[in-house]
């Protein structure tokens, strides 16, 4: 088992200008690790981070798009796996932080906790690559390849639940329409025409 923050620190070190779409607890923790105008917060309707990431990947085909999904979130939008696989964006890397719980809502277990094979689901849906990691050293070693391989690439990151210092959930920031406008402003220089 890994720690989520440690995984995020590794991803941040390899980010190289990528847009990062993160959801719920991952969004707060990612923002703490790597605050950046190109961080997109996907909340409001659980599970939609990967679909937002797909839209960004289609709209910005020359830009690397990283999504930091949760296991509970992915379960709520599992159909996105086949949609993403069918669209086949080469610039999309889909990380699922697998802690087995709905951490932001009391730590209740997800269905099939510890039994569901998320990388297996992504592979079966048709992702170009799908991996699962339990050790940080192996994840760190493979990360450059995960980020450079033609996507869509999927990686389940098995992490401990509740491993990070307590978060202050700033819901006004999280749900602000202005936050979306700021993200759009940050994306504008990346547009080619």
């Amino acid at each position: 088992m890994m720690q989520r923050m440690a995984c995020f620190e590794k991803i941040a070190a390899c980010r190289d200008g990528a847009i990062v779409v993160a959801t719920y607890t991952a969004a707060f923790e990612w923002h703490r690790v790597d605050p950046n105008p190109l961080n997109f917060v996907s909340v409001g309707a659980m599970g939609q981070a990967s679909s937002h990431a797909l839209g960004l990947a289609i709209g910005l085909p020359d830009q690397k798009i990283i999504v930091l999904d949760g296991d509970g979130s992915l379960l709520m939008n599992l159909s996105a796996l086949t949609t993403i696989a069918n669209a086949a964006p080469e610039n999309l890397v889909h990380f699922v932080v697998e802690n087995g719980t709905y951490e932001a809502n009391g730590g209740h277990p997800i269905p099939a906790q510890g039994r569901a094979d998320f990388a297996g689901m992504a592979a079966a849906a048709g992702y170009a690559e799908a991996h699962s990691y339990e050790g940080l050293n192996q994840f760190a070693a493979d990360l450059p390849d995960l980020l450079s391989a033609p996507g869509p690439v999927f990686a389940a990151l098995k992490v401990e639940s509740g491993d990070a210092p307590p978060l202050n959930y700033d819901y006004e920031w999280l749900h602000s329409a202005n936050r979306r406008r700021e993200f759009k402003d940050a994306v504008r220089p990346l547009l080619k025409d």
């Binding site: 409001g44 309707a45 910005l60 159909s79 996105a80 949609t83 979306r180 504008r188």
Partner: protein
């Protein structure tokens, strides 16, 4: 003797989308729009079709494309609209994103308004949209297609959601 009421032209809707500078259509099949609109769309050289597995994915995809200065619409049936309401509420209404949706009204009688339909699933659509303060237009005959480009333009100008309801089967 009764005369069949004409539905909107699929080619006309495609032209209207292009007139509104729409570049992407995210869709799930709906029998009201399948033959006249979705099949022609799927082979159109200018409009990019994104095949969805579930309708609410399309709401997020269209929002994300708007960040990239790309206009998109979600094409679906009213059952998919109902299934997507939470995402539309969050992304379209609260986060103020221009989510444009074309929604086939399965089961609507050609000669009745949606609110007069015998079908509950059809009858509730406009009141639900009104309750969510979502702009909507009704496209029934060929002449109604002209409403679509300005409705899409307005949605993007004001960054708010919009629904175009298709009240009769789209003609090939």
């Amino acid at each position: 003797m009764t005369t069949a009421l004409a539905g909107p032209s699929g080619a006309g809707i495609i032209d209207a989308l292009k007139q509104a500078r729409v570049s992407h259509v995210a869709a799930l099949p709906d029998i009201t729009t399948s033959a006249g609109l979705l099949w022609p769309l799927s082979s159109d050289d200018e409009l990019h079709l994104i095949r969805l597995s579930k309708e609410d994915e399309g709401v997020s995809i269209c929002a994300a494309l708007s960040y990239c200065d790309r206009r998109a619409v979600v094409l679906m049936q009213q059952t998919g609209l109902m299934d997507s309401l939470n995402n539309i509420r969050a992304v379209g209404c609260e986060y103020q994103q221009p989510i444009c949706m074309i929604v086939g009204l399965l089961g609507k009688e050609p000669d009745r308004s949606p609110t007069d339909s015998a079908s509950l699933g059809v009858r509730i659509v406009e009141p639900v949209l009104d309750a969510m303060e979502i702009d909507h237009i009704l496209i029934e005959g060929p002449e109604d297609v002209a409403k679509l480009p300005p409705a899409i333009d307005f949605a993007y100008l004001r960054s708010r959601p919009m629904v175009a309801l298709i009240g009769r089967r789209v003609e090939t």
